[in-house]
Symmetry: C2
């Protein structure tokens, strides 16, 4: 039976990937990482999205190790504004190695489940300055995971080369719009979303360009 | 100033690598992972070895995520004997993705330190069935880390192609024998070591073939 494991953050992109996976695999599991993110609402969204999507198993794994290694903005160790410029010219929301770590942990769980296919919502089109979300990084990591786990590992990145508008269209095509009503995007952690932070603006632009009403806003307005 | 970060378990191999690094880099830091290993004495050995070697910084990072993902023998979740055969024909001491995870976390800290060079004691000569310790895995992971961190990353594996006897000779050549007196190897977790488990036997064989008295046994007998 074909199975996939989706890395689910509770945001728009990974939820779109979950809808994509549900259409293609008989069994879908989901894994979420609690790395001390400032906005805990994301984790609750992941639980709700996974439940509504009918995944087989959903696990939230606590990853304290990144926090132990030092301060960064998303984990709330500094008071800096999200999105400001940080070390090496990268945004201060860059947590070095975060996505490499998450994919490795996802692969470790998939190995135990006997699941070959991993799905992640990383995207280099709306490139946010995170080198660990790029296609070449994912290809290299896939190779490292195959060798290191001595197993077939396939990393699917359905959004890698899509614009935000195309991503909205994909969610629509996969029947995933309803799920997007339960996602969280806002960098300010607000529900309803603030509508003014870079993440809210990017999301709004995508829905506007796709000509689709954001189901989250529709639900909250309802 | 040249600097290196050594992944230090508190065992013979990583301690030999620490001695190797001390000879080659002006500054050496060390990182140890507490992943819930059954024998906590290893962690104390890592602290002692790091102190005696005079590293600049030594951090022990707690990694709970592997334990959350499921049972395996080294983390004590099962009652099985260490070294018995487990899933996929691999030893039941195989923790899927463990070394990939540790190297990724080490690279994340090195990135913050501005350190390019990582040193690990993995070895495929005395091949224990761990695919994430092989040379090709390390090369692939190095590439994934370079791309994912957008930084130079060099993974040094001084023991990769050495026998246990050659590893002892290397420790001797690097002036690291004294440090080996403070390491832990025994799978049974005993101090003095049990002398009968596969890990003790492998260590004894290496010292015997190199014609060197094990400094740990000398110290404990003293």
């Amino acid at each position: 039976m074909s199975a996939a494991l989706v890395v689910l953050s509770g945001g728009q992109d990974s939820t779109t990937c979950l809808a994509w996976a549900k259409k293609r695999f008989a069994v879908v599991d989901a894994i979420t990482f609690d790395y001390g993110q400032r906005h805990r609402v994301e984790l609750a969204c992941a639980v709700e999205v996974a439940r509504r999507a009918g995944v087989r198993q959903h696990r939230t794994i606590t990853v304290d190790s990144l926090k132990q290694l030092g301060g960064n903005t998303l984990t709330g160790d500094t008071g800096a504004a999200l999105g400001a410029s940080g070390a090496g010219g990268l945004p201060n929301t860059f947590v070095p190695g975060r996505n490499l770590l998450f994919m490795t942990l996802a692969a470790a769980w998939a190995w135990q489940l006997g699941t070959r296919d991993l799905v992640t919502g990383v995207c280099q089109t709306d490139y946010s300055g995170y080198p660990d979300c790029r296609a070449d990084t994912m290809v290299a990591l896939q190779q490292a995971l195959r060798l290191g786990l001595e197993a077939e590992v396939v990393i699917h990145t359905p959004l890698m080369h899509l614009s935000k508008a195309d991503s909205v269209r994909l969610a629509q095509a996969e029947g995933g719009l309803e799920l997007l009503a339960w996602t969280h995007t806002c960098y300010a952690g607000q529900v309803p979303p603030c509508g003014a932070c870079p993440a809210c603006l990017l999301r709004a632009k995508g829905f506007a360009e796709a000509g689709v009403a954001d189901p989250l806003l529709v639900r909250l307005a309802g």
